[in-house]
């Protein structure tokens, strides 16, 4: 009787255990197939851009906390982050440059306004993040644009720091009159973006910060207002500076900021410099210079100071951390964000902090470049706004080029606003921003995504087979030119098209190579070798590891053939039409741009095809929508 009961009990226990294991396996399998993260429920999930060192910083700072990093090294980081946030797959802690819309913030992010760490932040900074009294994102370090001036020169000549734009113009004229060839203002001439930024900065200081200006910006974005209205003051102010002969374009042409500083400012050939980029490098030069320099804010005609500040990154927490069962994760996340809100944390996360302003209260900023720190503190109540960029991508380059040309020629800027309107209207007519390409029936795993990319290339029909490598990061080795991320259930819009694409340049065409069956077999068995060199964040696709500090192999996913593999060894390969592939036979292979090593390139003789991977993907999605997960080749 007892023996029978024991047997029954053991059988019941075994049954329960088996059921539990199966359920667990099934769940794990399900999680593994769709989530970017490993699925450890206790781990803090963080999505990071592959080039950053946040992973090393956080794991070293918090050795007792389990982390689950997903490192993305594709293109279009902003669209990627926006998509992942929308799908609540951005992880638990977010450290990125995305400024989330109010609606998305309320839906996906945790309100931090109740946390004491908010008290660490400078109110004027935090106010910019206030959404109906809630704080969903915290600003990281701030990059401030200002005017650098030669203090010694000013003192020598008795020039006063201009307190308004008009005074700046007057000073420029004064410099021209009183000196022998000193350039009043220098500005980096290597890119048209600086000229666009100069015009928009003046526009912001004079008009765009007003309620009317804010209203104009909304209408302009919708194509309902003219650039002539919103940027009128900026163009006027630029014209006045051109007319005052503030710039010596020919002397600056082609010079980036650091070079410009060394060549013109430090040689006392220029009195002032609009410092738009490379501020940290310039700051280092300033520290080593024998000249004494000062910085001053941009001012509008009335003299109100304006600081163009760009927050280099924002910090936020996922709303899912507040769900029941996540108490430990929430506590860990709060520890991390508390540290990220300290000067130590900001310093660690920010790539270069010498000119970065910490958004903390005065007593929290021990690392900032003093000139910039003083500028910030003296102008806490001035007008602040980020540099204009988002929303103006369609006109930025042409406008910048046009202004640059006018500066070069000391010409007129009158026609430029009209040109901007034309470009913008064309852009809006194209409607490319929010066009829906197609639809995905369900979430893809990352492997299914890479597989699909290979299939999209194959379906273009140019080659016998197509290969796409797995664009992931293994340890310190990053394969940038493989397939990234994953597709999500639902519509896919134009701007998200490039998120999963191999490579960094969505316009570069794919290539076709001719490789033997044996060479193809080697690629399948070995994968693509990526090597890392000291000081570099991106991997190189080389067959040789000489001088490399790390290297690894990344699997190819294929389309157009069937492969029988066992223990990582190819047993047989057969084209889709049933033709057995021979080692000695040559076959055409489509690759995504740069998705091969130099060795393969040498033997394969790549020929550009007439489409980039983006087009292949678009074509496939439009044709097969709604797209369903594909069978993995490996």
């Amino acid at each position: 009787m007892i023996k029978r009961s024991k047997k029954f009990l053991i059988s019941a226990l075994m049954l329960l255990l088996t059921a539990g294991l199966l359920a667990g396996c099934s769940n794990a399998q399900e999680a593994e197939s769709t989530s970017l993260f490993t699925g450890d429920p206790d781990a803090i999930q963080i999505f990071i851009w592959g080039n950053s060192d946040h992973k090393d910083i956080l794991t070293e700072k918090f050795p007792d906390i389990k982390f689950d990093f997903y490192e993305y090294n594709g293109i279009n980081i902003t669209a990627t982050i926006a998509k992942l946030l929308e799908k609540d797959e951005l992880g638990d802690i977010h450290i990125n440059s995305l400024r989330v819309t109010d609606e998305n913030a309320k839906e996906h992010l945790m309100d931090l306004s109740g946390m004491t760490l908010c008290n660490k932040y400078e109110p004027s900074m935090l106010n910019q993040y206030d959404i109906d009294g809630a704080i969903y994102q915290l600003p990281g370090s701030v990059s401030v644009r200002c005017i650098l001036y030669n203090k010694g020169m000013f003192e020598e000549y008795g020039w006063k720091e201009p307190q308004s734009f008009d005074e700046l113009v007057t000073l420029c004229k004064q410099i021209r009159e009183e000196t022998n060839g000193i350039t009043p203002i220098v500005m980096g001439g290597a890119t048209c973006g600086y000229y666009f930024t100069t015009m928009t900065t003046f526009s912001q200081a004079e008009y765009l910060y007003t309620p009317e200006g804010a209203e104009w910006a909304k209408k302009y974005a919708a194509g309902e207002a003219s650039a002539k209205d919103g940027f009128a003051s900026g163009f006027e102010m630029m014209q006045e500076l051109i007319d005052a002969r503030a710039f010596d374009y020919e002397k600056n042409e082609g010079l980036w900021d650091t070079e410009l500083f060394k060549a013109r400012m430090n040689t006392n050939e220029a009195a002032m410099m609009f410092l738009w980029g490379s501020q940290d490098a310039v700051a280092r030069e300033i520290e080593h210079s024998s000249n004494e320099y000062g910085v001053m804010p941009f001012r509008n005609r009335e003299g109100t100071a304006f600081l163009s500040n760009t927050v280099s990154y924002n910090i936020s927490l996922s709303k899912k951390l507040e769900e029941k069962g996540n108490e430990k994760k929430l506590a860990d996340a709060q520890r991390i964000i508390e540290w990220l809100s300290s000067s130590e944390g900001i310093y660690a996360i920010t790539n270069d902090t010498s000119t970065s302003i910490f958004p903390l209260k005065e007593e929290e900023n021990p690392y900032s470049f003093k000139l910039y720190q003083d500028l910030w503190e003296e102008n806490l109540d001035c007008i602040k706004a980020p540099m204009l960029y988002a929303g103006y991508e369609d006109v930025l380059v042409p406008t910048g080029d046009a202004i640059m040309a006018a500066v070069k020629e000391n010409g007129s800027l009158d026609q430029i606003p009209g040109m901007m309107d034309t470009l913008h209207q064309e852009y809006l007519k194209g409607g490319k921003e929010a066009i829906e390409i197609g639809n995905f029936a369900e979430d893809f795993s990352h492997e299914e995504t890479v597989q699909l990319l290979a299939i999209t290339l194959q379906e273009m029909g140019d080659s016998d087979i197509s290969l796409v490598s797995d664009g992931i990061i293994k340890g310190k080795v990053s394969n940038n030119s493989g397939g990234h991320l994953k597709f999500y259930k639902g519509p896919l819009v134009e701007e998200q098209l490039a998120c999963t694409l191999p490579g960094n340049n969505q316009l570069t065409p794919c290539v076709q190579m001719k490789l033997t069956g044996a060479q193809i077999k080697t690629l399948l068995e070995k994968g693509k070798q990526v090597v890392m060199f000291e000081g570099e964040r991106s991997g190189k696709y080389l067959d040789s590891t000489e001088g490399a500090v790390a290297w690894d192999y990344f699997d190819y996913y294929w389309a157009g053939m069937n492969v029988d593999m066992k223990d990582g060894k190819v047993i047989s390969m057969t084209l889709d039409d049933g033709t057995k592939m021979e080692d000695e036979q040559t076959y055409t292979v489509t690759f995504a741009p740069t998705d091969y090593t130099d060795g393969i390139e040498q033997i394969g003789n790549p020929v550009n095809l007439d489409y980039p991977a983006k087009e292949a993907l678009r074509t496939y999605i439009q044709k097969h929508s709604p797209v369903t997960p594909v069978e993995l080749c490996r």
Partner: protein
């Protein structure tokens, strides 16, 4: 013994449990008291906070209204005038500003033009008017009234914030030069918000700050409480516990309704009083935050001291009560033990008495049966030897001896019964000691002679023979003692009875009655128990000395009744000396000298007696006693016959009536009453003597009340009968 050991342990357990209970009760009561007081105090403090906060806010609102009134006043002043140029307007503004300024209140008047630029009275055009958000120009200008906190950085290099009341002018203030001002601003010191709640009762950890209805802090300042140092107080309070006053939800609702709320909360292990007072401007709230710990510290200290005092008091009271109960418990237990011991002793005594009684009854059964057996046996023998006169006389003699012995047994038993029932009382009468001694002498002398003992008496020491005492008791005492001497002295031994008087005072004397013999004596161990009932030496063995064992007990009882003292000296095989000492009052009226050799004996008298006795044997015995002494008698069988015979007799035919009491038809008492009531001369005078087995005092009283002159108890003693007849018939009809 085990029961005795258990009691101390049980006592300790009870004591410990009691103290523990009292301590627990003390703590519970203190806790309850503290909780109740604490709750009441908190509610009271909450009300106080609400009251203070609302008052302060009310004052602030008055201040705000005052600023709007000022703006209204200045606006009215400016709109009533016409201006040609901007400077005139600004000069006028400067005048009004000067008028409004006070020594303690910095104030600025500003105007905003139709382009959104603001002007100061003394500085002219300053800059674009910006509101709270420094990034953009103010959108508040669209509203009729707005209040903002501005730094007015363009106006002054000082780092200072102003409370700006901005009012849209119904009609712009214009000048002929085209100047047009659409808004007026009164900027005042923000220090109105710097409220110090550091009152003694609130402690020092307090904060007052301004927040909007979304929970965001409006004015930043030095904050003392950790709770206040958050960006959004309402968000922070989601984690707080609201336990007195408004709940969190009610607070949030009040924000939408622009009403006030006050609560006591716990946050991060600290308690706070927090009051949200709706201000009269914007959607702002004045928040009053008081750290409860500091607020209550002094009061809490008092409360804790009081609680401690209460607790100590309760504990002390408990200890005192415990001690009192312990003391009472000990006494109770001691009493218990004592009672138990007494009970045990009583049970022991009862057991012993029962055992003694059992032994006595066993003895009595034997002692009574023995003479009865002798009487019956001798009677049978006498019948058998009726013709043998010597044998017959021997039998009769033995029957007589056995009968007397049996009589002694019965008498002593009756005496003990009378003693135990309390029916023996001292009947003091005047007696003549000589006469009493003579009676005793006669009885004892004959006993002594029968044992060939020498019996001597010495009464020469009596100076006052007439004394007042109970003759019966005295006689019984002496008879018992002398009887014991006779019994416990071997044949041929010597017995001496001496009585002498020792002067005590003028009216009484101490009379010593000494009985000495050279008998078997008594052991000292027995002497210790000699007065105990049923005690006889060597009782375990049947001795040849017959007796009840009650004699000395009776002697002692009677000696005590007469307030006497008895002492005994005895030595085994040497002899015994009894000495009884009484203090009697004596009389001096008559003294009768009586020789030692004198003895009383009844002289034969020729009385004619009427005898009533229903028992044939007793009637025959009585008749024999009378006729043997020369009397004649008529006998009847019951009281009825007695009455008939007497009533039919001639007056004084009879000299006396001797009657039994218990008789059929009519008892002796009723017969006596009837006789005394007869209408004849001798009815009242004839002596009536009762002979009865009723031996108690009550029986005597009944007899006397019935008119009976003398009461003799059976068995009838011939000497007593003759003496009474002699007294009543020979010396008149006196009662005895």
């Amino acid at each position: 013994m085990d029961a005795q050991n258990k009691n101390p342990n049980k006592l300790r357990l009870i004591r410990s449990a009691f103290v523990l209970c009292i301590t627990l009760i003390a703590f519970v009561m203190v806790f309850i008291t503290q909780t109740v007081v604490d709750q009441g105090m908190r509610n009271h403090q909450l009300q106080m906070v609400e009251m203070v906060a609302s008052r302060i806010t009310e004052n602030m609102n008055h201040y705000f209204q005052g600023q709007w009134d000022n703006i209204q006043y200045v606006r009215n002043t400016l709109t009533q005038r016409s201006f040609t140029e901007e400077d005139e307007i600004l000069n006028c503004l400067a005048e009004e500003e000067t008028a409004l300024k006070t020594s303690y209140n910095e104030l600025l008047l500003l105007l905003i033009d139709d382009q959104g630029f603001y002007y100061s009275a003394n500085g002219g055009k300053i800059a674009l008017w910006r509101g709270t958000n420094t990034a953009f120009a103010s959108s508040e200008l669209d509203r009729e009234k707005s209040v903002t906190i501005n730094s007015l950085a363009e106006l002054s290099s000082e780092s200072k914030e102003y409370l700006c009341f901005t009012q849209k002018l119904e009609a712009p203030i214009t000048a002929a030069d085209g100047s047009c001002f659409t808004h007026m601003v009164l900027a005042t010191d923000k220090s109105i918000f710097d409220i110090d709640l550091s009152l003694a009762s609130f402690g020092t950890i307090t904060d007052v700050f301004i927040m909007n209805s979304l929970g965001k802090t409006i004015n930043a300042q030095e904050l003392n409480t950790d709770l206040a140092k958050t960006y959004n107080l309402l968000k922070t309070l989601e984690k707080a516990e609201f336990f007195i006053g408004n709940t969190y939800e009610e607070v949030k609702t009040s924000m939408t309704l622009h009403t006030s709320a006050t609560s006591m909360i716990e946050f991060d292990n600290r308690e706070y009083y927090i009051s949200f007072q709706s201000m009269g401007i914007e959607d702002w709230y004045a928040v009053f935050l008081i750290d409860q710990y500091d607020m209550h510290s002094s009061v809490t200290q008092i409360m804790y001291d009081m609680s401690l005092g209460l607790a100590v008091g309760f504990i002390l009271m408990g200890i005192v009560l415990a001690g009192f109960l312990l003391y009472n418990t000990r006494i109770y237990l001691a009493e218990e033990r004592k009672n138990k011991e007494q009970l045990r002793l009583a049970m022991e005594a009862a057991k012993q008495a029962s055992q003694a009684k059992s032994e006595f009854l066993s003895r009595m059964s034997h002692d009574i049966r023995t003479p009865l057996n002798g009487i019956i046996g001798m009677t049978d023998m006498a019948e058998a030897k009726a013709d043998d006169k010597p044998a017959l006389m021997d039998c009769l003699k033995k029957i007589h001896g056995a009968s007397r012995h049996l009589l002694t047994l019965v008498n002593e038993l009756l005496d003990i019964a009378r003693i135990e029932s309390g029916k023996i009382s001292v009947n003091e009468t005047q007696i003549d000691l000589y006469e009493s001694m003579a009676v005793v002498h006669d009885i004892i002398e004959s006993r002594a002679l029968s044992r060939n003992q020498t019996y001597q008496t010495d009464f020469s020491g009596i100076s006052h023979p007439l004394v007042i005492t109970d003759d019966n008791l005295l006689t019984q005492i002496l008879l018992n003692l002398l009887g014991n001497s006779v019994k416990y002295t071997q044949e041929g031994g010597n017995i001496k009875f001496t009585v002498f008087e020792e002067a005590a005072d003028a009216q009484s004397a101490m009379y010593h009655f000494i009985i000495e013999d050279n008998g078997i004596g008594m052991k000292p161990e027995f002497l210790e128990h000699i007065y105990e009932r049923f005690s006889q030496e060597t009782i375990s063995a049947r001795s040849s000395y017959e007796g009840t064992g009650l004699g000395m007990a009776i002697v002692k009882e009677f000696v005590d009744l007469l307030d006497g003292v008895i002492t005994i000296e005895s030595e085994v095989n040497v002899g015994t000396k009894f000495e009884v000492i009484f203090t009697f009052p004596f009389l001096l009226e008559t003294q009768v000298a009586v020789s030692d050799e004198a003895h009383f004996s009844g002289a034969k008298q020729s009385y004619h007696i009427l005898l009533a006795e229903d028992n044939d044997i007793n009637r025959e015995i009585a008749q024999f006693m009378l006729t043997e002494n020369g009397m004649t008698c008529v006998t009847v069988n019951d009281g009825q016959q007695l009455v008939e015979v007497f009533s039919q007799s001639a007056p004084n035919q009879f000299d006396a009536i001797v009657t039994d009491i218990r008789m059929p038809v009519l008892d002796g008492l009723d017969a006596a009453k009837i006789i005394r009531a007869l209408n004849r001369d001798d009815a009242e005078t004839i002596p009536i003597i009762a002979i009865t087995a009723n031996a108690y005092e009550d029986d005597k009283d009944l007899s006397l009340n019935a008119g009976i002159n003398a009461h003799l108890t059976k068995p009838l003693h011939e000497e007593q009968l003759l003496k009474i007849l002699h007294q009543l018939c020979g010396i008149g009809k006196e009662t005895t």
